[in-house]
Symmetry: C2
Subunit: 341 residues, 2 copies
Amino acid sequence: MKIPVQFVPQLKNIKLLPNDVVIIDRRLLSFRQVKSWTANSIKYPVVAGESLKDIKKFPSHMEKILRLTNKISPKELRFVVIGGGSVGDFGGFIASVYKRGMPLINIPSTWLAAVDSSHGGKTGLNAAGTKNQVGSFYPAKSVYVCKELLFLQPRERALDAYGEVVKAFLLDAKLSRTNFLSLAVSEETLWKFLKQCIEAKYRIVNRDPKEQSGIRSLLNLGHTVGHAFEVVLKWPHGKAILYGLAFDLFWSEEQGLITSNDLKNIVNSKVWKELFHFQEYQKALSFPSKRIMKLIQQDKKKTTSKNIRQVFVARAGKPLLETIPLQEIRTEYERQQKYFH
Amino acid sequence: MKIPVQFVPQLKNIKLLPNDVVIIDRRLLSFRQVKSWTANSIKYPVVAGESLKDIKKFPSHMEKILRLTNKISPKELRFVVIGGGSVGDFGGFIASVYKRGMPLINIPSTWLAAVDSSHGGKTGLNAAGTKNQVGSFYPAKSVYVCKELLFLQPRERALDAYGEVVKAFLLDAKLSRTNFLSLAVSEETLWKFLKQCIEAKYRIVNRDPKEQSGIRSLLNLGHTVGHAFEVVLKWPHGKAILYGLAFDLFWSEEQGLITSNDLKNIVNSKVWKELFHFQEYQKALSFPSKRIMKLIQQDKKKTTSKNIRQVFVARAGKPLLETIPLQEIRTEYERQQKYFH
């Protein structure tokens, strides 16, 4: 798969057509530049959040969209999805099943979606109390990453995205050779590294587009325990992932996989020091291990009921994928609880 | 795409596994041989018919299936779909979106599904009052065509399927060179020609698996007006298609595309004479053309609001695809109304 991403400075660089069905986070329409840019297309504004992805609401969304578009020939219709992760998952799924699939254009409006979720073709709805139980692999024809749109967000949302960028840095050989970790945390830095970060993700996704070979599990670095932190502490995704990365890094050191020196280069870096706070990590380690394990077991990425693919780090840019008994996460969580007490 | 079809004499030749989720027309479970064959798998019996495909019921089906399967690792799960057209469309869609897609095995239980709908990878649900508005292209890993299962049906269901077989004969050069049209109508004949018929369908589908180039529109032979007959007369699909084929053949003659001699060879054949009844055709031509046109316009296959891909026949085995103004169907319907009065 060719990387379908285009980087543009302004919204007006992205041409919308009259037969485009624009599925958009309705908060974005309060910005006059977004409103005027989308004025001539068919709009389907949605309320962002996990509740948008509830399968129970899918029939009513779909029927409304079908009525809204019943005058347009399927040959002329495109879905343009503008929003963060939940809007992307929802809109991508709609595009993938509307009349057996229509062209999809993704325009991430949050840094987190721009770095991560708008790439790789995964769509999803939530069902039976679990996230992304229903969905498709449906790569967008184009993804537009637009500076003007991303800079509409408050600065904290940029910080939220840093966790995923640090993950990309730890996973990707090319990115790990840059000076990213030594630069001050800012939106301008994020914008500067966005392209390399996204390319790093496609390098992995393109080796395993449908999650069949296991290679794509590399993207789970920081996510197994990080997801559990996200749930128990109600942290933003990016923050939870940063502390999940900390867990996997400390574990890699304990296993003798990363040298203390290589680990120090990461945790003493400017970015890490600005974002990682020891008291916060202690909070993340303050839960009974049983509770953390229950959340991990509910995670759908388990390969069988007893094993999990765990990503370790040998050094920045060199991850190691291993299938291990789930139980070992518990042992390690309890070890870190004692160690960082 | 390799043709994924296997022909087997008996149900016991198809091995079901304990982690197979069997979506099955529940009427089939009243046959003791079907019941014992499926005894060790997870069963999800459904009531066949268009109402099964109602998008409003999809969330509840999906959540039940997720609960039924929550102990099975996605790596070990397959969906086995056993039934006619509606069960196949529904079950195929479920398989295509359950955790972003699981292996799908199709086992058609009706002649019509065995000839036609279980092949080609189209799945679908009905929404906003129209058929197949939501769906996917999701080819089955395997399709098992089982003589024992098909012969459980009453003989009339075999007759229903003949329309699609005659269509295949008119479309496919290889099939048109067989003696199919000169043999008495029977289930044994249908079984004998099933393989060639299915191969003929794959020859077209494989040239245009996602309905993009237009080649796949050839499969619409007999279907444009035939679908309208199906709705207004509440005829079985196969019967309606046979009369739809008659319409397209007579139109082809009127256009000078097929010679009178070639047409006679078809309509004077044993099969045609057994299945085509002139009084029935007059019934099909007894509706105001406006009503027929309204039904055709609702058909989602229209390329734009004003044109339609029409399949003519130059001779058996040589179809001709043309894009024509929709209005020409009306003119021809009215001509045939007068001509066959």
